[in-house]
Every structure is written in structure tokens, then in C-alpha cells.
Symmetry: C2
Subunit: 157 residues, 2 copies
Amino acid sequence: MTSRARIEHMDDHTGYLIIKVAGMAVPAFERALVSLGLNTRQVRVLGFLHGESLSQAELCARTGLDRTTMVAVLDELEQLGHATRERSKSDRRKHVVRITRNGKAAYAKATKKLLRAQEELLQPLAPAERAQLHALLSRLFDASQACAPEPAAEVVS
Amino acid sequence: MTSRARIEHMDDHTGYLIIKVAGMAVPAFERALVSLGLNTRQVRVLGFLHGESLSQAELCARTGLDRTTMVAVLDELEQLGHATRERSKSDRRKHVVRITRNGKAAYAKATKKLLRAQEELLQPLAPAERAQLHALLSRLFDASQACAPEPAAEVVS
DNA sequence: TATTGTTATACTCTATAACTATA
DNA sequence: TATAGTTATAGAGTATAACAATA
């Protein structure tokens, strides 16, 4: 019975489509940043630093990266002159991570590059359709986030 | 100027949303299969074997896996009794890969599990919206495929 | 004792190259 | 010489655990 049942391909299912399209998007974004000498993870971290200075643990909580990875990313960003680390005066265990002027400029450039890459990726869709897609994906993502609430972020000085 | 420019978060851009939602889908699908002792890659390979027997090279062409990975996946599927390998009579370099009765049954079960996982993933959307999302993603994927055409597949015996 | 950042280690994935047997 | 399958190896990426400094 089961072996006789009509077997359907998973390939054209929505879940697979999401994964496939993401599989196109990830390398496209990475490619968009190579001319800046950056990767998406570094840019993601920079994005959380532009308004406030955060500890490494706080950055981990926001980006979802674990702390060992964060050490490596911040080493890279420090090397590039895009961020700085210094001991917190209120809690000497913590590092206050700050974005530099260069880092802000790099982030602005990266954002433009990424937007252009996204533009290219979404080119097959009309503006109204892109908005539709965005809204639908937002609903999916927000629903999943509603299940796993995070504790409020705490900014260090 | 650049450092003064309004810096926007990439987080709520469509490209990032696609990647994030895929980041939810991938583990959801893997989880859906653990009770069957399978992973998505194995199921993907099985899906291409239900109608025809293919050589390993052909399976690589269809799944996008490279041949070293395919060796490992087929080792696993053979171990599980879901597929068999035998030398092709027409070209003794090739292996004819066949899905077994058990393999077909496992694939049918896996398909159901994956559909249920997808159902759960898309639960926040109404049926019409799911269809919309599917159509939009299809357009994005098809557009990218149009650029890189594949040679016609050749079935072995 | 718990937390922050760091380092070291191991484990998985992937990509490459080399090897065999066949053509 | 080229192809199909296999094996070995090296690299990136990730996860885990242990460690020093501080709370």
C-alpha cells in the first residue's frame, strides 16, 4: 500500500522553495560584500553597534552568534579598524564594544551593496509583489519569534 | 557625511527575512525526519529514484550534490536498506542505483512528515496567502534557473 | 558560585585531489 | 585520454569544554 501510493516530489513544495531561494540569497549577499573586504556576519554585528555600545554577551544575544564566534568576529572588526574593545568601568569583566567612524562608513557602504544585491534578487517581482513577499515572510518570522521571547537588552557603558 | 547618514538595520530587509525563515525551515525539516532515522539529503536522493534507476553521476546532476557526497549518502541509504547499487551491464564503470520497497515506504513516510512540518511552518498564513507565497518564491527560483540551463538527463539501465 | 571573555579541542561539512577500473 | 566511482586529505565552520579574571 505505502509502496504503491503515488510518490510526490518534495522539490516543488513551499518549504523547499524557501530553502532554495535562501540558498541563492546567501552567496549573493556574500558576493556583494567581498569588494569591501567584509562578510555578512561582520556587517550584522556592526548593525547592532551604530546606536549604542554593547558588551560582547549583549551582541551575542542580539545576533544569535555564540560567544566564541563573537570573539573571532570582533577580532576581525578590530583588525579592520571598524570596532574597538575596552574594559567596562562598571564591570571589569565586560568589554565595551564600540563602532568606529570607519566602521560606520563601512556599514553604510555595505548596506547599499546589500540593498543592490537584494534588488537584483527580487528583480523578477513587481514592486507590489515584493511588498507582498516581504509581508508574508514577516508574518512567518514574527510568529516564530513570538514563541521564544528574549529578555530585555541591557546596554553597558 | 557617510558617518552622519541615517544608518538602517538590515534585519527587516526582504533578503534577510528569506534567510531567516529558511533558517527556521531547515532544522524543522531535519527534526521532522529524525524519528525515521533519515535526513533531508537522503530523502532528496530517494525522491529522484522512485520512477527510474539512475547512475550516481546522474543523481549528482539532479540533486546538485557532488559525487563524493553522493557516495556517502548512498552508503547510508544502502545500509538502511533503502537503495541498492549494482554495476551497469551496458557500462561497467557505472552503478545502477535503485530504490527498494523499503526505501519507497520510507520516502512516503518522510514526505508526510515533511508536509506536516511545512504545514506547521506556514500555519500563520491563510491558504490563499500560502499559495501567494509559493507563487512568488517560484518566480524567484525559476528566474534564477533560467540563467543556468542543465543538460538533459540520461537514464541508465 | 556565577559570569565575561578567551583559548583549545573536536566534530561536521565541504572541496580538492588522487587512485581504480573501465571506456 | 576521458569518465564513474571511491578514498584520502585539508579547510572552513560550528559546538563544547576548560580556563583566567572578575563579580
